[in-house]
């Protein structure tokens, strides 16, 4: 092995982090691993606080020695390697745990310093970072399947939350809350209910400006809504529910704020799916013509691209026998991730034309059914806030209770994984990229974990 230790290899280091090395060739012994390389950079830059780095050799994370990597790829002895280094992902740490009485189906970290969870008992709950329950609002009689917080520019403490439920409706609820002072009185008011679907809703999401909503349902429809609250009911209750039945079903709501709830009709209905639609999201950036694009996936094993204004399906990506459970768009909006019941998360290239044979880029295998996906900062809609280091990363939650952090550049195994609850399903994850905080909702309630080296998250 003496010769192996002596053999060296020319290497050029590049980085997009705040710790660049001078561009020059280094002769690196091929027996070096990540640890030695990381020490080299720390020593070369003489950082006062050691920062661990991960190394991407030609887009793949280095897991063994350089010699092993070269022999696997068949790279010649004399070739110069371009190694990009990124800040290493520290082992995830559990920050807090907030048990719920019922299963948590969805989590949102979008309100600053607050977690919002939607639960199967039909309520949304707000927690502060100090693990304090700020507010519980009962919105639906049936389980809430999805929620999203409408982004808004106003700086006051009033948020509009859209929830989708199995009772065939979605609702817009205005919540006033002060996260800094939990004792302050908080109020909530259901503004409108969205009536379109004839089956339980599976997801709801808003666009970056908060002006429109997308709902998806088991009845293969995707509804497009605006968020303006109409003065009058757009749908008469008689049209909606002829007979006495609907009255009975609305009875519970009538007690609270039935008078204030306006019935809204969809602005557009996107019909093309042939089976249950499991997720519909807006594209994070508007296209050049000012037309916004939406993406949806469903149990018919397709990912569909919609022109929202016209309600036309622009493109269909067909996967074979992959009923999809969740969809997420990478921040570059060029890659869609879809988790499927065949225990894979597949990345699809959205730029390819429909004629292209296989738009699937990579497929990441899970030991259990992946139920939810999240990319960092997917709802902050400010690309600058996501550091370049994790633009290739996403997390997935699965039914085996494990949340995995993946990097699209190394798809064979997750970068990191942590077990939320033994044998309890994870149903919703949300990753606040900038803070490195991950909210994980599932059978066991809400858990907050910290991922990433960003020191800004260490406030709690």
């Amino acid at each position: 092995m003496a010769s192996a230790t002596e053999s060296t290899r020319p290497v050029v280091f590049t980085t997009s982090t705040a710790y660049p090395l001078p561009t020059q060739k280094f002769m690196i012994p091929t027996s070096w691993r990540r640890y030695q390389l990381s020490q080299l950079i720390n020593k070369a830059l003489s950082l006062d606080k050691p920062i661990p780095f991960d190394f991407l050799v030609r887009g793949e994370i280095l897991r063994g020695t350089l010699a092993e990597w070269c022999s696997e790829r068949g790279v010649g002895e004399e070739e110069t390697l371009d190694i990009e280094y990124i800040e290493s992902v520290l082992p995830p740490q559990q920050m807090s745990s907030m048990p719920h009485e019922d299963w948590v189906s969805c989590v949102s970290c979008q309100i600053p310093r607050t977690f919002v969870t939607g639960s199967y008992d039909g309520s949304i709950r707000m927690f502060s970072y100090a693990q304090q329950l700020l507010q519980t609002t009962h919105i639906h009689d049936a389980p809430i399947t999805s929620l999203c917080v409408l982004p808004q520019s106003t700086g006051n403490r009033t948020y509009t939350i859209a929830t989708a439920s199995q009772d065939l409706t979605a609702r817009l609820t205005k919540i006033q809350s002060d996260t800094d002072s939990p004792d302050a009185p908080s109020s909530s008011q259901t503004l409108a209910s969205l009536h379109l679907h004839t089956s339980p809703l599976s997801s709801i999401s808003s666009n970056s400006s908060g002006s429109h909503l997308l709902t998806s349902s088991w009845d293969a429809l995707v509804g497009l809504w605006d968020t303006a609250i109409p003065a009058e009911d757009e749908i008469s209750p008689d049209d909606l529910a002829p007979g006495r039945v609907s009255k009975r079903r609305k009875l519970a709501n009538k007690d609270k704020s039935e008078s204030g709830v306006r019935r809204k009709a969809p602005a557009q209905v996107l019909k093309s799916h042939t089976a249950r639609v499991s997720k519909a999201v807006f594209s994070s950036e508007e296209s050049a013509a000012g037309r916004s694009t939406a993406y949806s996936c469903g149990f018919d094993s397709t990912v569909r691209v919609w022109d929202v204004e016209s309600g036309v399906c622009l493109q269909t990506i067909n996967a074979s026998e992959k009923p999809m459970t969740d969809l997420a768009l990478m921040s570059s909006s060029q890659t869609a991730l879809a988790s499927a019941t065949d225990r894979t998360v597949t990345a699809y290239d959205l730029r390819v034309s429909p004629s292209s044979s296989s738009p699937a880029i990579a497929s990441m295998l899970h030991p259990a059914l992946p139920s939810c996906l999240s990319v960092p900062g997917s709802h902050t809609h400010t690309p600058s806030s996501t550091s370049n280091s994790n633009m290739h990363q996403f997390i997935s939650g699965a039914y085996d209770g494990v949340v995995r952090l993946w990097d699209l550049r190394s798809v064979k195994a997750p970068i990191a994984s942590f077990k939320v609850a033994e044998g309890k399903k994870v149903l919703g994850v949300d990753w606040l990229g900038a803070a490195g905080l991950v909210g994980v909702g599932g059978e066991g309630g809400l858990e907050v974990w910290k991922i990433g080296a960003d020191g800004a998250a260490g406030q709690t």
Binding site: W103, Q166, S199, L240, P242, T341, R343, L427
Partner: protein, 750 residues
């Protein structure tokens, strides 16, 4: 010769001694005796009479000294002949027989003293000395040693015997012509000359030619000598002094028994005297009757084919094999060869080599003798893999369920039954604790729960899509329940169906089954409609819907007339299709397209036409106890599973016997289900496994259904000997839901 003579003489002497008084007889006998036995031994014939006939000896001796005195070799034959004659004369008178040669006393020439001179012993023909009169004394040596010598040997005195003059061929010829006796002479090797044969030798030659005994004195018709027969010749003295045994004079007991046996047989008529020996006439035609037809005549041996040109040692050129033919012949196995030889050309018959297969052929014949097989076949070496039928790989038949996506746990009791909603989104499962849970297929979160008093025996979801409800079978009751979160239109339609405002007209024949609807405004926690089956009809073990959702059949586990009911939703009427039920009914099924109804009893599956109310056919699966069955969505194929682990696939068009028997489970089969759209079916068993099969049915009637075992799903625990109790497919997806005795309901995804 001497010893032989001695023996004979002693014998004779004994006789003479024993019977001295019978001289006349013996004399008469003795007249012939010398002629046959002792003709050539006159001198030793009798000891006792030596002294009585001295003079004859003298006469006979008188010749011998004369002859001996001459010592002539040439006269030997004559002396022989003479002696024969003399002997013949001597034999004629037995008085002249001398036992010893008579000595003569003469005056020696040399010593002038008297001396006794015995006549020289005449060597007879068969004596050893007869060969010693050869004048050439060289012995039995090859005479060509003397070829280049002037002599041909030595005589008795060591003198050379010179080679007689040899005439040339002409002389020999002249001799044969001139000498009339030359044909009676033979070449004497030792003397190298022709010697005339004696009359005795000629006689021997004649006898040999006539195939007679060469001995002239041999008499083949010699009379018997009666040694001990006749008066005074028998032995008078006993040979032993032992007393005479008793058996000589006591009558034999065993003889008496044997005789008595015969006497008894005669008395009883078993032995009939003068019984006709055979009924057959003395003379009859043996070919009169036809041959026995039971035994065919033995086959004649096959005639060997005549040899052809190819078998010749020198065949024509066209019969000779070419090089390729020779190679092909050599490469073939011995048994496969058309001929067991190759034609070969030899220039001459003497060039034909020995048969090279000689040893092998002998060995083969030896094997035949030992009854050993002559052909030693190699053991059949079949790869067992090649016997397995070629089935497509399961990977090419995806999708099928392969892993457990989630499991829903029932707290108490076994999960006995489950139902999947027609849209494939909801599962309703019931356990033995009386709890019915409704939950999502993909998440497994219980959405609603109903609790009933007794065990939940069966569940099924109405297949209609315009209404949505399911039926729960508990003890003596069928409950109809509406799931929550329905669109209002569906909910209204369901409520109006189950609890209509205006009841349909009551049927003419009142049914013992009561239909009780609760008010439609009641909450969803209570069943909206309840069917009260006749009391003591037991737990409905199975509920099955007709495809259109209007008819519902229930099977109760109590035997008797009321175990099977068919309920019609639109008319709110129940009827028992069978007046009299033989045996316990295990399961019933509606045909998906025809008005046919399948009823599985313990051993058979009967197929009835409900419209015409008649039995169409009886399927015989050969299962000891049928547990479950399901029909293919096409309606042409039926699978039947039994508690004896067997699964039978019936092609209803084909036969009432199973097309295929599958036996993959190690314990009793509990449940079977065909996927409504995918070509899949699943079977669950008490061994805790679920087996998924690919079952492709072709529209082409000529193509057999393709059944491929795909996957064994393990994960359910066996509890109290019970495994997976029911399996159901989710419509639209290749997903499977299974209820186990361990209280878990699992969803298996692809």
């Amino acid at each position: 010769m001497a010893s032989k003579d001695l023996k004979r003489s002693t014998k004779k002497r004994k006789q003479v001694e024993d019977e001295p008084e019978e001289e006349d007889l013996s004399r008469a006998v003795a007249l012939e005796m010398p002629s046959d036995e002792e003709a050539d031994e006159p001198a030793f014939s009798d000891d006792g009479e030596v002294d009585e006939f001295p003079e004859i000896d003298a006469a006979s001796d008188s010749d011998t000294p004369d002859e001996e005195g001459e010592g002539d070799q040439e006269d030997e034959e004559e002396t022989d002949a003479e002696s024969d004659q003399e002997e013949g004369e001597q034999s004629g008178s037995d008085n002249e027989i001398h036992p010893f040669p008579i000595a003569k006393t003469i005056i020696s020439d040399i010593t002038k003293q008297p001396k006794r001179v015995y006549p020289e012993i005449e060597a007879e023909y068969d004596s050893d000395s007869s060969t010693e009169d050869d004048p050439n004394r060289v012995g039995n040596v090859p005479l060509h040693w003397y070829d280049d010598m002037p002599h041909i040997g030595y005589d008795m005195n060591g003198k050379k015997i010179f080679r007689p003059a040899q005439g040339d061929e002409l002389d020999k010829f002249l001799d044969t012509v001139e000498d009339p006796k030359s044909w009676m002479s033979a070449f004497d090797k030792s003397l190298q000359m022709d010697k005339p044969l004696t009359a005795e030798e000629l006689d021997i030659i004649r006898r040999l030619q006539a195939n007679e005994n060469p001995d002239a004195d041999y008499d083949p018709y010699e009379p018997t000598v009666e040694w001990f027969t006749g008066p005074d010749k028998e032995e008078k003295m006993p040979l032993s002094a032992a007393p005479e045994p008793k058996r000589r004079w006591v009558p034999s007991k065993w003889e008496k028994k044997k005789v008595m046996k015969i006497v008894r047989a005669i008395r009883q008529g078993r032995i009939v005297p003068s019984k006709p020996k055979s009924t057959q006439p003395q003379y009859y035609s043996i070919w009169n009757e036809p041959t026995d037809s039971q035994h065919p005549a033995p086959l004649p041996a096959p005639k060997p084919a005549l040899p052809t040109n190819a078998e010749s040692y020198n065949p024509p050129e066209e019969y000779l094999p070419t090089e390729e033919e020779r190679k092909e012949w050599e490469s073939q196995d011995k048994e496969d060869r058309e001929r067991n030889f190759l034609p070969h050309k030899y220039g001459a018959l003497r060039l034909v080599p020995a048969y090279d297969q000689f040893i092998q052929e002998r060995f083969g014949r030896q094997l035949d003798l030992y009854l050993a097989p002559r052909v030693q076949r190699a053991k059949l070496n079949i790869d067992p893999e090649s016997l397995i039928p070629k089935l497509p790989s399961p990977n090419s038949l995806k999708p099928f369920p392969s892993y457990r996506a989630l499991s829903f746990v029932h707290g108490k009791g076994r999960a006995r039954c489950l139902g999947v909603s027609p849209d494939g989104a909801w599962v309703v499962s019931g356990d033995e604790g009386g709890v019915v849970s409704l939950w999502e297929v993909t998440v497994g979160r219980e959405v609603k729960r109903w609790t009933f008093g007794g065990k939940i025996g069966s569940l099924d979801w109405c297949p209609r899509t315009d209404v949505s409800f399911f039926v729960i079978g508990v003890e003596d009751h069928l409950h109809f329940v509406i799931p929550p979160n329905l669109p209002s239109g569906v909910l209204t339609a369901t409520q109006s169906l189950l609890a209509p405002a205006a009841l349909p007209p009551a049927p003419a024949t009142p049914s013992p089954v009561k239909w009780v609807s609760s008010s439609s405004s009641a909450s969803l926690d209570e069943p909206i409609l309840t069917l009260q089956l006749p009391t003591l009809s037991g737990l409905p073990g199975q509920i099955t819907w007709h495809r259109r959702g209007d008819y519902l059949a229930s099977v109760s586990n109590r035997e008797g007339q009321g175990s099977v009911w068919i309920h019609q939703m639109s008319r709110r009427h129940s009827q028992a299709p069978f007046k009299k039920v033989k045996g316990s009914i295990q399961m019933v099924l509606f045909h998906p397209s025809r008005p046919d109804f399948f009823v599985a009893t313990q051993r058979y599956v009967r197929m009835y036409n409900l419209a015409e109310q008649k039995l169409l056919k009886t399927l015989m699966p050969g299962i000891k106890w049928i547990s479950s069955m399901d029909i293919h969505p096409s309606g042409d194929h039926l699978i039947v599973g039994g508690y004896d682990r067997k699964l039978c696939w019936f092609d209803l068009e084909l036969s009432d016997k199973p097309y295929k028997n599958l036996r993959y489970h190690t314990k009793a089969i509990r449940s079977l289900h065909f996927h409504p759209t995918y070509p899949l079916f699943a079977s669950s068993s008490d061994d805790g496994t679920i087996q998924v099969f690919h079952a492709r049915v072709y529209n082409d009637l000529m193509t057999d259904p393709l059944i491929v075992p795909l996957k064994i799903l393990r994960g359910h625990d066996i509890k109290d000997g019970l495994g997976v109790l029911q399996v159901r497919w989710c419509r639209g997806q290749p997903w499977l839901a299974s209820a186990g005795a361990d209280g878990k309901v699992a969803v298996w995804c692809s």
